[in-house]
């Protein structure tokens, strides 16, 4: 009883340390817990498998460096899959920071594999204007982006030849920290197959579009990236982090159970519940 009461008042810095320790140990000494691949991830894989060599896809990198931990494994794995299939990639970004990430990802994976810029892949850079810009881009990409990220006229790039609207690509894949239904609204009416990779908090909202068939596949957070690494048979940083993720969740569940138990015990014995742990002075 006393221990539970103490837990309710524990300094939150101890909880931070405990969480850090629980996350770090399995990263240093992996436990090898099994990772199952969800149906959504399989859908993404199968959709990309349907593409043929020479097909073109749009890749939209709509995230900032702060979300690399959640989304980069997804972006890397899907880009590697597209490379393996011989698919041509046209990158576009609707967030300024995304342009930097797209540049790094494509040059590292496509450039690193000896693919030619302008023929096998290109980067159309950052386009300001949010959903309005997305609508303009999907209806006429070259008019919306007259120059690529490096200032070359986009119409002069061989990969962009005959690219008049979204119907001229075989898929649209976006990685995002913020879209809810923007691409569904803008690209959906054109019938472009859409695949999404989103941060974990956006997962539940996007699932409605998978169930309705508007999204052909969905990867959610670091877990989605880990699953894709497994299905590609190329385990990377996300797959290695899944042990830590599982233990972190376990600890969080224990925090919730003990926190609530302590809260109700304090309430029962007439003490004023603290709720949320003792806050330190700022």
């Amino acid at each position: 009883m006393k221990a539970l009461l103490w837990l309710g008042n524990v300094d939150r810095r101890i909880l931070y340390l405990l969480m850090g320790f629980v996350l770090l140990v399995p990263l240093v000494k992996p436990m090898g817990l099994p990772i199952s691949v969800s149906e959504y991830t399989e859908n993404v894989y199968n959709e990309i498998e349907k593409l043929s060599p020479g097909d073109r896809v749009f890749l939209d990198f709509n995230y900032t460096p702060g979300s690399i931990a959640e989304l980069q494994a997804q972006a890397d794995s899907i880009t590697k899959h597209l490379l393996r299939k011989g698919v041509k990639v046209i990158a576009i970004c609707f967030s300024p920071e995304g342009a930097m990430i797209a540049d790094d990802t494509l040059n590292r994976i496509y450039g690193g594999a000896g693919k030619v810029y302008g023929e096998d892949y290109c980067h159309l850079g950052y386009l300001a204007g949010g959903e309005t810009a997305q609508g303009a881009f999907i209806r006429d990409p070259l008019k919306a982006c007259p120059q690529d990220f490096y200032g070359t006229p986009s119409s002069s790039l061989p990969i962009c030849k005959g690219l008049s609207n979204g119907k001229d690509v075989q898929a649209l894949i976006y990685f995002t920290t913020g879209y809810t239904a923007e691409w569904i609204r803008q690209a959906g009416p054109l019938g472009v197959p859409i695949i999404a990779g989103v941060i974990t908090v956006l997962g539940p909202a996007q699932e409605a579009f998978v169930q309705s068939g508007q999204l052909k596949g969905l990867l959610v957070g670091m877990r989605g990236g880990a699953e894709y690494e497994i299905i590609m048979d190329e385990p990377g940083s996300a797959a290695a982090a899944m042990d830590a993720q599982s233990l972190g969740h376990l600890l969080f569940i224990l925090f919730i159970i003990f926190g609530n138990a302590s809260y109700f015990i304090q309430k029962k014995y007439g003490k004023k519940p603290v709720g949320g742990g003792r806050s330190h002075e700022y």
């Binding site: 990263l27 342009a99 850079g125 941060i199 997962g203 539940p204 508007q214 993720q245």
Partner: protein, 199 residues
């Protein structure tokens, strides 16, 4: 340990940012200001590049003078910083809001309304389908506010409220999962790239 200066800078700034978890301090403050400054600077650089590639070059090199219209409207937005010219910013703002709403609405009716309703019209041949259909109806009934609910509707509406609670719980669970992923990313940077403890 890493010999890369970039990794050292990144690690030290990360530690300074995370020092806030202990208490507010000057290192955290410095990193916070640095982050805001860098973000603003990067945004300005990208914005400038956008103006050059999508307005300046087409106007000056290709003679597309009609692009002067959005450029002038863009300049008018800055009128809000001058008291006597504040009114000028209202016109481009109205244009942005109007076109933005219209473009979003064009797709919303079909993609978010019709198709989402269609997706709930399914044969009740599995437990999953049953939960989707019954769940949707119960949650919709919770949002009837225009007339007093009778006993039957109140019960259905209560079930809808519980389903909403479960949804919020799932959203919270996903939020926790996302935050833990971000923490793992930081640990991988510090203990992997920096001090090579993680292989």
């Amino acid at each position: 340990m890493s010999t890369d200066v970039g990794v050292w800078v990144s690690a030290l700034l990360t530690i300074a940012a995370y020092s806030f978890l202990w208490k507010e301090n000057r290192f955290f403050r410095a990193v916070e200001h640095l982050f805001v400054g860098l973000g603003a600077g990067y945004g300005i650089a990208m914005g400038y590049s956008n103006i050059v590639s999508k307005a300046w070059n087409p106007i000056t090199k290709e003679g597309k003078l009609y692009l002067l219209i959005p450029v002038i409207m863009g300049v008018m937005l800055f009128g809000r910083f001058v008291k006597s010219l504040r009114w000028t910013s209202r016109f481009p703002l109205a244009f942005i809001v109007g076109t933005g709403a219209a473009i979003a609405l064009r797709g919303a009716v079909e993609q978010q309304f019709v198709k989402q309703i269609q997706a709930t019209m399914m044969p009740l041949t599995s437990v999953g389908n049953l939960i989707i259909v019954v769940g949707t109806l119960c949650v919709m009934s919770y949002f009837f506010f225009t007339f007093p609910k009778n006993k039957a509707l109140s019960s259905v509406s209560t079930v809808g409220r519980w389903i909403l609670m479960v949804t919020f719980g799932a959203a919270f669970g996903n939020g926790v999962m996302g935050r833990i992923s971000l923490s793992i990313g930081v640990l991988q940077t510090l203990f992997g790239e920096w001090i090579h403890l993680i292989k």
